[in-house]
């Protein structure tokens, strides 16, 4: 029992070799971008039509705010490039529906807003100023959950935060974007962590890195060696180590109560990419208009880690990577465990797009499901200590009350149960259906 660990979890093949040693490449400016009004968890943005006269034919500059919402749990969206607004209306979205979006055709000049300038030194910024900068920059959790970052930096007064954890686990197979960010933008991550610690009044900062990325861990360890209150933490490699409750438990020993947020135990965590975005917002005044993502999978001709402007169409990204092979079975946005399969590549890269995977039959395992043989491998692999087979069965039978009694709502859909199931039952899919039905009934 040398290193701490959480219960359950699975060990899928990493499949990170194709891209883990490839430096981040800046993708050339896209010809056009599609900017959906919802790229975060929370209230969708409304077009700033009356404020900034955004309409078809209107010229915008990079960094110009396109949409916002007055609600607290929301994050504005900005123009990622300069050019002309050519269309406003519903567009394909990675979530599988059409969402109102602004389409901008590039003028190729990449002209930025005049107010894109450094916010000043961290020492001079007040806590409220930091929160305002992060909010106005439209920064959300870049690990994929896309929760507005400023909300996590504004805990209620009765919930003091003492630890900030930077999530460098990147436990999803295939993805290497966070790994590369840690290697290439380590200093910016540490600065971002300091910003968060100041905003939260936290006394301790931890940078957690899975031990299958020893180069990133060693670099972090070296860079924070002089820092008194920041440390690097080597996490055991196990999926879903990057899930916030598992991360907090392993790094601090604290158990986030069921149904509660990490701030309940005095912890806030942010992805490495989020830390970099916050740093850039403060140092350069840049809103969140680009991100690093991994393009990989057996169907990708030239796998890469790319720095991409938000709104770039996935089809254009794939083309830049040499296209995808004809044997591609699934196009996935995100990681292979929790990402969303797409019916088309005509979708934009959004804030939460951590990866684009073209998976062939080398990657995906397609099989008919058989009856449950009650092997309980799902039970022992569940990091939340649930009984996936029983919840799935209850949901399948429409017995949502039973599903709720079995703590269905505590499932965060990591997919370990479906992954491990020898009968290949889509357990997490049934649980998701169950959760939806339970919530529907609750909201009635």
């Amino acid at each position: 029992m040398a290193e701490p660990s959480f219960k359950g979890g699975v060990h899928p093949a990493y499949n990170k070799e194709a891209t883990s040693t490839l430096a981040i490449v800046k993708m050339p400016l896209p010809q056009k971008v599609v900017v959906p009004m919802q790229q975060h968890i929370g209230a969708p943005c409304e077009l700033l039509a009356d404020v900034e006269k955004i309409e078809k034919g209107f010229e915008v500059k990079a960094g110009q705010k396109l949409g916002d919402n007055k609600g607290f749990v929301s994050a504005p969206v900005h123009a990622p490039i300069s050019g002309t607004v050519v269309d406003i209306g519903p567009y394909n979205h990675p979530l599988g529906m059409k969402i109102n979006a602004v389409t901008i055709e590039s003028d190729g000049r990449d002209e930025w807003m005049d107010n894109t300038k450094p916010a000043g030194s961290l020492d001079d910024l007040s806590v409220d100023e930091i929160r305002k900068i992060v909010r106005e920059a439209g920064i959300v959790g870049l690990g994929g959950a896309t929760f507005p970052a400023h909300v996590k930096l504004s805990p209620p007064e009765d919930k003091p935060i003492d630890i900030v954890i930077i999530n460098g686990a990147e436990c999803e197979p295939y993805l290497t974007a966070d790994h590369r960010v840690m290697l290439e933008k380590a200093e910016e991550i540490i600065f971002g962590l300091r910003v968060m610690m100041k905003a939260l009044g936290a006394s301790e900062g931890i940078i957690g890195v899975e031990n299958n990325k020893p180069d990133a861990y060693k670099l972090m360890e070296r860079l924070v060696a002089e820092e008194e209150n920041i440390s690097a933490f080597s996490l055991p490699t196990k999926y879903p180590q990057g899930a916030e409750k598992m991360l907090i438990y392993v790094a601090t020993g604290r158990v986030v109560p069921a149904g509660a947020l990490p701030m309940e135990v005095g912890v806030v965590n942010h992805n490495v990419g989020t830390a970099v975005a916050i740093t850039q917002a403060i140092r350069e005044g840049k809103p969140l208009v680009e991100r690093v993502l991994t393009v990989t999978g057996s169907g990708i001709n030239q796998p890469a880690n790319l720095l991409v402007r938000l709104g770039t169409l996935v089809s254009e990204v794939l083309e830049y990577c040499g296209g995808i092979s004809e044997s591609t079975l699934k196009l996935v946005v995100g990681g292979p465990m929790m990402g969303l399969a797409q019916p088309t590549a005509d979708i934009p890269v959004i804030k939460g797009t951590s990866g684009i995977l073209a998976l062939t039959d080398e990657d995906v395992y397609l099989a008919e499901s058989s009856p449950c043989i009650r092997c309980a491998k799902c039970v022992s692999s569940c990091p939340m200590n649930l009984m996936p087979t029983s919840i799935a069965q209850a949901a399948e039978h429409g017995n949502y009350k039973r599903a709720e009694e079995l703590y269905a709502l505590d499932c965060f859909e990591c997919g370990c149960c479906s992954y491990i199931c020898p009968s290949k039952i889509p357990l997490v899919q049934w649980i998701r259906i169950g959760k939806n039905e339970i919530m529907k009934r609750k909201n009635k």
Binding site: P257, T328, C372
Partner: protein, 323 residues
């Protein structure tokens, strides 16, 4: 960019482990190989025949019922057939084996809806049916004495009782002899050593939960120690005697750990194992039929849903219900 063909859209996760029912069942067959090998080494060609007939007739019964030409299929019928053969006496007539296999597959499993739906362990259902229907072939002085490495000897010629029949007989065998398996008994149950090797491998592979055999064997040992009467040198030795004698090892490691008919919760599995041990010892020490393990496990199979229901684990972070 043009994408050729249609993209599959399905729910995450998009990757899955390569493990299947067939691969798990194959692993169980591999785990049982040492026990099967010991059976042939100890009881000769009759053991080999019984094993082949058991496995083949079980697969045949399944294929006929499911009207499938694929004999091995998911491998579960082969496991049932092998397990049944290993808990039969070496001298048993071939037709008893066939009836046992068909009973196990059809009455024990298929009438409930096939794999995943059976309430009782199919192999034990087969054995229970044989015991009550053809008791003369299944109990009494029908147990051949093992003849190590004498492949050609006919195990049916010289028979006697098992070590569990009487204390006088029991003390004529040493514990190491019983651990290796050089004693009268069912084909595969006598060698605790061979069973243990396969069992450790199954635990390592994550196919069985140590809680069930642990609870089962531990309970048998403690009850044997406390109530066994200390006839076997001393109380401690008597406890060990009950562990290695009869079907406790094969039952605890391979039957009580059957996926379908046992609990899925960790605590439930421990309770299940302990329950099997208690019933086994009740029957052994105070019952009339020499079928402690068989009925211990079958009875616990019956209460498996109740055990699961009362041992639902608290979710991570769920200590404080008011949160």
């Amino acid at each position: 960019m043009v994408i050729n063909g249609k993209l599959i859209v399905s729910s995450s996760p998009h990757i899955k482990s390569v493990e299947s029912i067939q691969s798990v069942m194959t692993d169980v067959l591999i785990a049982l190989f040492p026990a099967a090998l010991m059976a042939v080494l100890l009881f000769g060609y009759r053991a080999l025949l019984t094993i082949i007939i058991g496995v083949f007739s079980a697969m045949l019964a399944e294929a006929i019922w499911r009207r499938k030409r694929d004999l091995f299929s998911d491998g579960s019928a082969a496991v049932t057939g092998l397990l049944l053969a290993l808990i039969l006496p070496a001298a048993v007539p071939w037709w008893v084996v066939v009836i046992g296999s068909f009973s196990a597959i059809i009455i024990g499993k298929q009438v409930f809806g096939g794999i995943g739906y059976n309430i009782f362990n199919p192999a034990l259902v087969g054995r229970a049916i044989l015991v009550v229907s053809w008791g003369g072939h299944m109990a009494g002085d029908i147990w051949p004495s093992p003849q190590p490495f004498a492949f050609g000897y006919d195990a049916a010629i010289v028979t006697g009782a098992t070590v569990l029949a009487s204390r006088e007989l029991a003390v004529t065998f040493s514990l190491p002899e019983m651990f290796i398996g050089n004693i009268p008994g069912s084909l595969g149950e006598t060698s605790a050593l061979a069973l243990l090797i396969g069992g450790i491998w199954l635990v390592y592979k994550g196919h069985i939960d140590y809680r069930i055999p642990g609870g089962f064997i531990g309970t048998v040992f403690i009850l044997g120690l406390l109530f066994g009467g200390g006839f076997y040198a001393n109380n401690l030795m008597t406890g060990l005697f009950h562990v290695v004698a009869g079907g406790v090892m094969i039952g605890a490691i391979y039957m009580a750990t059957d996926f379908v008919s046992t609990p899925v919760t960790p605590v439930g599995r421990l309770i299940f194992g302990i329950g099997c041990g208690v019933i086994t010892m009740l029957i052994r020490l105070w019952g009339t039929l020499p079928e402690g393990v068989t009925f211990g496990i079958l009875l616990m199979n019956a209460v498996t849903p109740i055990i699961d229901n009362f041992t639902i684990p608290r979710q991570f972070g769920g200590v404080n219900k008011s949160a």
